[in-house]
Symmetry: C3
Subunit: 225 residues, 3 copies
């Protein structure tokens, strides 16, 4: 499906087939990372095997489904190319049998979530751009793709989304940074496999640093009283 | 709307008009069942008449709206064919005036939910198939249609969706069973009114048996410690 | 974007350019009102600057995005015409620096929400009508547009939507009133700038009166025991 999008998209015709393969790998790795984050949340909530599978699939595929609906690509890739669904389910099953203790899952969950965030903000922007949208719209859709799966995971499991918790570390901003970088690269015809990977790595690093050093946005004055 | 879909769908041209009528009746009965489940949840939460109407309509129409968006049929049937909305609202009003005691609604709620689940996984798969999608995609969309309304009902009323509660009984699996059976029947050109009804009855029976005998999926080892 | 919709829509060709400007202003004022309501909810929950921005944008743009998806207009206007996003973010930033005390925000929040509700039920109906839908469908979509943003705000911030709280004041009914009035005006070719504004004012007044006098729908008998 991504291949088809690249073949028809006017603005990414410069991508050679090696870049396409890397790109598809990035999308797949993002799916696996988000599936792992969904499955780990499910394990922490003591859901059973099917609950883990449903939450892993919703987290991994949710952002891409929302993006595809927003650009009018129906049915979404997640329903036509079963690679992504299969990867989500395999991830959930593997984590089910490993059965990591809830105490040990906090760190891996956050790293998996950051990797998914960084890869999806880049691939989401590229797909939106290849659908013929302008750079700012493509960047917004890339950020939405990256954030969407995690928001769905949190809403479905009855929690306030990470992106909206008080005293959150920066989350949407690293995604917007990666998406805006990608849109800029595409706009100036500088998007290559390695520049795309750099943009993803930048977003992942940004998010992990924000997590580690607890970078916060300011809160309104009255809230600090 | 369903008539039009059948008329244009290449793979269900074998459906005669009697089958279409049965099919439409199934869709309508699914809507009424899910509307009843939404209205009963609303009554348990002591919502007023309009809250009952909104939750009944969201539960009954949500799955179909999601399915129509995913296959690119806009505006969704629920907005153009007002039969379904009317049926939801009438169901909510009738249950408002009957006003069953909350103690008495647990059983009927679960039976109504199971009937909606079974009918929607079949009709959802048929509609997705008639939109020209392949069998696995049609089955996934059928399952999504069947689960979607209940998920929306639970998220809107501030609960974790049934499909994601710890120690849940099997819920998505009966829907997937019915949808996969229907997709297989369609694929081998064996879909008839009575085989479709059998698939729906199988899914309903599977769900009710899972409820009665409390069939669970396994939970991860650490969660059993 | 609205200009384009009006230019191509067959049934609103009677709108002169002055009406279009008024209409666009109404859409923008609705966006700002809903953005303010989202930002005020975020401030009450002590979210930081970015949390306020995300919740303001989701509330202000959510209803229109849902409407655009339902009528098949992809990508939605909120992603292509950045005026609306910019207006939401500026609103959030201004409220961040004003930093009103939570005690003082209840009244303004409800007034902002009512204004957004009234304006969006009219503009949503007009946009759905200009997409060629019939009057009842256009009215339903107008009501959905008006309610959608607030539902998204409440679900994302972990609350039961206003429209579904027990002992709620009338909320969906004023929106339906405004949308049905607008659809009727359009149907009989009586929609003008001032009649549209009257319909919006009627819906806003209806909602504020319902709030002030605590108009409730009846609750089922057993709930009053």
């Amino acid at each position: 499906m991504l291949v088809a999008a690249v073949a028809t998209g006017p603005s990414v015709s410069e991508l050679d087939s090696a870049a396409t393969a890397v790109h598809r790998s990035g999308e797949l790795l993002g799916v696996i990372s988000f599936a792992a984050s969904g499955a780990l949340v499910a394990a922490r909530k003591r859901l059973d095997l099917f609950g883990m599978a449903v939450l892993a699939a919703a987290t991994a595929l949710g952002g891409g489904i929302v993006r595809d609906l927003l650009i009018g690509r129906t049915p979404p890739a997640a329903f036509t190319d079963l690679t992504y669904l299969t990867a989500s389910l395999v991830t959930a099953f593997v984590l089910f049998f490993i059965a990591p203790s809830p105490r040990l899952t906090k760190g891996p969950l956050e790293i998996a979530d950051a990797i998914g965030l960084g890869l999806f903000c880049v691939t989401g922007t590229v797909i939106a751009d290849s659908a013929g949208l302008g750079a700012p719209t493509a960047a917004l859709l890339g950020m939405t793709t990256a954030i969407g799966g995690g928001v769905l995971r949190d809403v479905l499991s009855g929690e306030v989304p990470l992106v909206l918790r008080p005293d959150q570390d920066l989350y949407a901003i690293p995604a917007l940074f990666g998406a805006a970088t990608t849109a800029t690269l595409l706009h100036f015809d500088l998007y290559r496999t390695w520049t795309g990977l750099l943009a993803a790595a930048g977003a992942i690093g940004f998010r992990l640093l924000a997590r580690h050093y607890r970078w916060h946005a300011p809160t309104a004055r009255h809230a600090r009283d």
